[in-house]
């Protein structure tokens, strides 16, 4: 079997997995940021309402 052929098959399959993994990581990071923003806002509103 042509070694270059096999290497590029590996690149192709890895690229597919890496793109999806990268997207999953970006979703996880966004989720974390949104949760933090939501918590901060809720806390800020509670404090303002208490005053």
């Amino acid at each position: 079997m042509d070694e270059r052929n096999l290497t590029y098959m590996f690149y192709g399959l890895s690229a597919a997995w890496l793109i999806l993994a990268g997207y999953v990581l970006s979703l996880a990071a966004r989720e974390k940021r949104l949760k933090r923003q939501l918590d901060n806002l809720k806390r800020m509103i509670e404090e303002r309402e208490r005053k």
């Binding site: 052929n5 590029y8 098959m9 966004r30 806002l41 509103i45």
Partner: protein, 233 residues
């Protein structure tokens, strides 16, 4: 609370099912199926290249339907679904484009050519990327939803053109190879069925990503509402 738990458990269940199916598929692709007579091992890229495009097309179709529904019903959840489906579709379309380029490097000896199918696939990706950029550029939620819904409907033309490009313009990219597209005997049935199995796996992955992305859209809306409330205080 019970509904949230049910939703979360369903999501975990789908994610586990997708992971198991992907692992099984990968095993069959690498160990079960023989090399292709002319292309050797590299043809295995097709098991991600095609299903990724199909999954992206399903996402774009979902975005089209939910955008139309938003324009008719003006419900925020349709806008959220359109945005989520477009973003997930873009990730799968990127898989399609990049795997295609790597495959082309070996089979055609080039990374890229301005062939009809490739060009339309790229145009399609850029149009939907533009959709997401447009959403970032408009602050008012209802104006953002209305404008992006209209763009999403027009953008679907590029999906249809990408789909039909291999029939209408016979250039570098091969014509249809699947039976569902009328190509009889172009591909070994075992290989063709593997394409559908991996499409199912990618659809499951897509469904999980879509659900997560939808939840984030809801959180973003909640943040917007709280910000307005905080301003009013």
């Amino acid at each position: 609370m019970k509904e949230n738990n049910f939703r979360r458990n369903t999501l975990y269940g789908l994610a586990v099912l997708a992971a198991l199916l992907l692992a099984r598929n990968l095993h069959v692709i690498l160990r079960g199926l023989p090399d292709e007579e002319e292309q050797g091992a590299i043809y295995r890229i097709i098991f991600f290249h095609l299903p990724a495009f199909f999954t992206a097309a399903v996402c774009y179709l979902l975005a089209l339907v939910s955008s139309a529904l938003y324009l008719v019903k003006r419900k925020a959840r349709y806008d959220a679904l359109a945005a989520a489906a477009t973003e997930v579709g873009l990730a799968f379309a990127a898989v399609n484009l990049i795997t295609g380029m790597i495959w082309a490097r070996i089979i055609w000896g080039i990374w890229w050519t301005w062939d009809a199918r490739l060009t339309w696939a790229l145009v399609c990706w850029l149009v939907y990327a533009g959709y997401l950029m447009l959403r970032r550029a408009i602050e008012d939620p209802s104006e953002r939803a209305r404008n992006s819904a209209v763009l999403s409907i027009f953008a679907f033309v590029s999906v249809a053109l990408t789909w039909k490009a291999i029939e209408w313009w016979r250039t570098q990219h091969p014509g249809p190879v699947l039976r569902i597209r009328g190509a009889e005997g172009a591909m070994d049935p075992a290989m063709e069925s593997m394409i559908y199995w991996n499409w199912l796996a990618l659809l499951l992955v897509g469904a999980v990503l879509l659900a997560v992305r939808m939840r984030q859209e809801q959180m973003a809306r909640e943040i917007d509402a709280l910000r307005r409330h905080a301003h009013a205080l």
